[in-house]
Symmetry: D2
Subunit: 150 residues, 4 copies
């Protein structure tokens, strides 16, 4: 697998009560970091999306906790879309120490476009997909990639 190039990095402000009794940032808080990274990513890539109507829901998350995070660390969350299907796409994220470059935690998730009124999955909006491809500087749609290889 080729390494992921991240074009989106968001510095994270650690809060006092992110730290649990073991003196490190509690694992459950990492998901707030990923959530924030994701939200900012989509707001950057495609600012016009109406999240009240067109939701995107997480259906799967996969996380490797590599290093602990302390309240004095300077961290950032990096986000990239890595693959786009018809109704779903894959997102790679990592929390890094911005001073040392050390990767603290890696997260892969599968997200599905979701009609919040009918509560059913829907096809990803084409304009939105183009915007992601443009931001990531490569073709992320599986079927398109396959065609290219022919």
């Amino acid at each position: 697998m080729e390494p992921i190039v991240y074009h989106h990095t968001l510095p994270i402000q650690i809060r006092f009560n992110d730290v649990d009794k073991f003196g490190h940032v509690n694992n459950t808080v990492y998901f707030s970091f990923y959530d924030l990274g994701k939200t900012e990513y989509f707001a950057t890539v495609y600012p016009h999306v109406d999240w009240e109507k067109n939701g995107i829901v997480v259906v799967h998350i996969d996380v490797d906790f590599l290093e602990q995070i302390y309240s004095t660390d300077h961290i950032a969350v990096q986000t990239a879309v890595t693959e786009i299907g018809t109704k779903s796409f894959r997102l790679a994220q990592q929390v890094i120490d911005t001073r040392t470059g050390v990767v603290k935690c890696v997260c892969n998730s599968v997200m599905v476009a979701f009609d919040l009124e009918s509560h059913t999955s829907i096809a990803l909006d084409n304009e939105w997909v183009e915007a992601i491809n443009h931001f990531e500087r490569r073709e992320l749609r599986k079927e398109k990639k396959e065609k290219k290889h022919i």
Copy 2:
């Protein structure tokens, strides 16, 4: 001031990450307990209210932290409406240790009825006020109390 009699007591489930690096429940988490007590109180007293339309917003909170809370404590939040005006009312709450009866924290708040669409304060619904009075077993409206004294 006469002591408050609480008719609503909600046991609280403490979560692992409620506890901060000092080994006690973080102060900011107490407000989640009060919020939960409040929500359950209103759901009990007047289950028919449509919170999407008729909001109640907190405009003032006053808290005395008397004792620390530890993850092994058994606690509950107690809630009572103590005074009702035209557009606002007062709420008294406390977190107690359910085994020792010790009061851990006392909270007084002022809440205002709020139209979530027009973003303006509105008169409290009369049926709702009656339900509160009934639940609290006394007349809480200021003006009604004054009339009685004449």
Copy 3:
């Protein structure tokens, strides 16, 4: 793979601010539920462990979000250890709707015994392993299982 039998079920109290602007319990909050289930599981199975000295850290989490959780749902988190190695073990958890039995979310995690002072992984305590085996009513150590099959 054989289905997991859960011997530990902990009802979860949903808090007002667990619910995000989409009206359902925010994904990040699920991890607090799993954390709580885990903490109670270990406190039940082996109450004598000194968590200040012998920590257990999560190194991997894998989550499938199957159904949304609403504030009015009655939910519980179920926890089982499913496999034990020398320094690590696997944990299966799920959030269920206690009234319908519907599985809302499934979580698998890998945890490692960790010396909080030297910050290195350590062998799992044998007494602790026995207690888990006893609670789960089966042999969970990989090597022991392999030996049995001979």
Copy 4:
């Protein structure tokens, strides 16, 4: 009462799940903002303090919620010590909109120096008090102020 001059302003990063189902930042989250402002304030004013040994606990909080905070707002928390006693001191804080200057929420708290081992209140460290006075550019000790007026 003279207006408070704030010499410490900390921009706050709003997180996705700070926003509740009413679409604004949940009231309980404000206290995380104040906590963070406080922590950074003390780290700035007197970086050498050993928080593991010399704790400062909140004994009273008083909050006026003036305006709602939305996820798109740019906010900061401002912090000032306003009065220093023997064992306790007063802290004023406010959340502002950094683009409009609008004050969203005002918080006053009383904090007490606390020995985390003996669990008793202790006299404030003199060097620490000097550092605060220096940072705030005025004499904050009540008794010293009174003497001056003679």
